[in-house]
């Protein structure tokens, strides 16, 4: 649950729910000419070279295309170790690089259904980011 005072890791990547029961969504852009969808937002469609993009909210559910457990700490990262990240395919087309949460590493499986949540990276910090977690059966 997102609390007051939390700040997004970057502007324009996702919506922050303001009402109870509302789901967060990733913000993408869709080419009005060819229909291709991008995440994060792009100003030019690199498939048809048009600058005619509209903002679009992406599905908050996708499938886990692949995942890995990271054992060596990257320089700019200050969260817990080790941690899971994955590549999530969304129905609109884009695949999203994302941290994974709410799961035992052993229970992660390819092609499993995952859903978007907003969470902190580090407990002591107010910054929130998007993550995906397995959908509870």
């Amino acid at each position: 649950m997102v609390e007051q005072g939390m700040k997004p890791i970057a502007e324009g990547l996702f919506t922050i729910p303001s009402l109870p029961g509302e789901q967060p969504r990733l913000i993408g852009s869709k080419c009005r000419n060819c229909g291709r969808v991008y995440f994060p937002k792009e100003v030019v469609c690199n498939a048809c070279f048009q600058e005619d993009m509209e903002e679009t909210l992406l599905s908050n559910r996708g499938k886990l295309y692949s995942f890995t457990i990271i054992h060596q700490k990257p320089m700019a990262y200050s969260g817990p170790m080790p941690y899971a990240m994955g590549l999530v395919s969304l129905p609109e087309g884009p695949t999203i690089m994302s941290l994974l949460t709410g799961c035992d590493f052993e229970k992660l499986e390819l092609d499993m259904d995952v859903e978007l949540v907003l969470e902190k990276i580090v407990e002591e910090d107010e910054t929130v980011t998007y993550k995906f977690r397995p959908v509870q059966a």
């Binding site: 295309y65 890995t68 990271i70 054992h71 320089m75 700019a76 980011t129």
Partner: protein, 382 residues
């Protein structure tokens, strides 16, 4: 277009050389290439230098060449990630092939200012890129691990097949005096080395620190006759490409850009994979070698792991790959990797590769793919 030959190659060993300057590395390779070509410095007509992205040296080519001789020739410096050295070669090739100059020099040099773990990261291209770094999911190694797991799922590949690539390439490098890692490793050592990001282990990654220098002298075929060496190698094609719409949608487990780049190189050379005797390809992680087997046409999509496992790409196998150890074991000083590949092909095609010699090698291919993405494929023949 004119026929272009490689008259000479020169290398400094790849590795870590804290006591050497980039000028020392550069001189060793440049003078080595000139000696090999039977040429004097003043014969050079243009020069193309590549360096790694962390080296802030301004006009590194002019700085180096100015300490070897002052001739007024044009010098250009570039950075193109893993394709830096091959891009310098590509420019040198084009300069001669299209008739602007008769003799060109390509030099790649890599001198680390600080270990990558201590170097300040480059400015993020976007706010999203900065966010990925803070989330700890921006490292290139994670993409290799994601590709491994997906391929294991889709094609039934095993970690052992990936690890086998590392065993092969370390074995090859053990017989190459310019390689960074000259020690053989066992399958168990590879699998049980430090976990980086599961299932990727340390010995399935190229060395994190790598310095070195390699150079090549290119020359038009006609002018090459002045320097009779009796062992000239011809450039059959040199292609550099970046992503196009048709390759951008290809996922993690296949590299469409490398495939389209190779296709163009085969077309220009008028040959196919069956004509290639040996290959130097881009293996920063074991899985990349497996993927690029497919891109270059050694096998169909999904068969790369099996080929890695059955010895077909070993020296003595059907079509040896990375006979000098590849990025994994020869090392990957990204500023010059492409020119180490050229050097190895030239040695092999001349029959000078010693214990690594691929018998009867007539045609060789060098491939790299780097961030951008950018890819190069160069085909040489004797």
């Amino acid at each position: 277009m004119r026929e272009v030959v490689i008259l000479g190659i020169g290398m400094h060993k790849a590795g870590e050389f804290p006591d050497k300057t980039n000028l020392e590395l550069g001189r060793a390779a440049t003078f080595g290439a000139l000696r090999d070509a039977g040429m004097e410095f003043k014969d050079l007509q243009s020069a193309y230098f590549s360096k790694n992205k962390a080296d802030p040296t301004a006009s590194i080519g002019e700085m180096m060449l100015g300490r070897m001789g002052l001739t007024g020739m044009p010098v250009v410096n570039l950075e193109n990630d893993s394709c830096s050295g091959s891009s310098a070669f590509w420019l040198a090739y084009n300069a001669v092939a299209f008739g602007r100059y008769d003799i060109s020099l390509a030099v790649g040099v890599e001198k680390l200012v600080l270990p990558p773990s201590m170097s300040p990261p480059p400015p993020p291209a976007t706010e999203y890129e900065a966010a990925l770094r803070a989330m700890g999911i921006a490292d290139i190694s994670t993409r290799a691990a994601l590709a491994m797991r997906r391929r294991m799922h889709d094609y039934g590949e095993t970690v052992g097949q990936f690890a086998r690539v590392s065993v092969k390439n370390h074995k090859n490098a053990a017989h190459y005096p310019y390689a960074q890692r000259q020690k053989e490793v066992t399958l168990d050592e590879v699998l049980n080395s430090l976990p980086i990001c599961d299932p990727l282990t340390l010995l399935q990654c190229c060395p994190p620190l790598s310095e070195g220098c390699a150079a090549a002298v290119l020359c038009s075929k006609d002018v090459a006759k002045r320097y009779q060496r009796g062992k000239n190698i011809t450039v059959a094609s040199a292609v550099l490409r970046t992503a196009s719409e048709s390759t951008s949608g290809v996922g993690l487990t296949a590299a469409g850009l490398s495939k389209s780049t190779a296709k163009e190189a085969y077309n220009i050379a008028g040959i196919g994979i069956d004509d290639i005797d040996l290959i130097e390809l881009c293996d920063p992680f074991t899985v990349n070698e497996v993927i690029h087997y497919e891109d270059l046409g050694l096998c169909d999509q999904g068969e790369g792991g099996r080929i890695a496992g059955d010895g077909r790409t070993d020296i003595g196998g059907e079509r040896p790959v990375n006979t000098d150890g590849g990025l994994l074991a020869r090392g990957h000083p990204s500023g010059c990797t492409g020119l180490y590949q050229i050097a190895e092909l030239v040695l092999q095609l001349r029959g000078q590769a010693g214990p690594r010699q691929v018998s009867g090698a007539k045609v060789g291919l060098a491939h790299l793919e780097g961030s951008g993405p950018v890819a190069t494929v160069i085909i040489l023949k004797r």
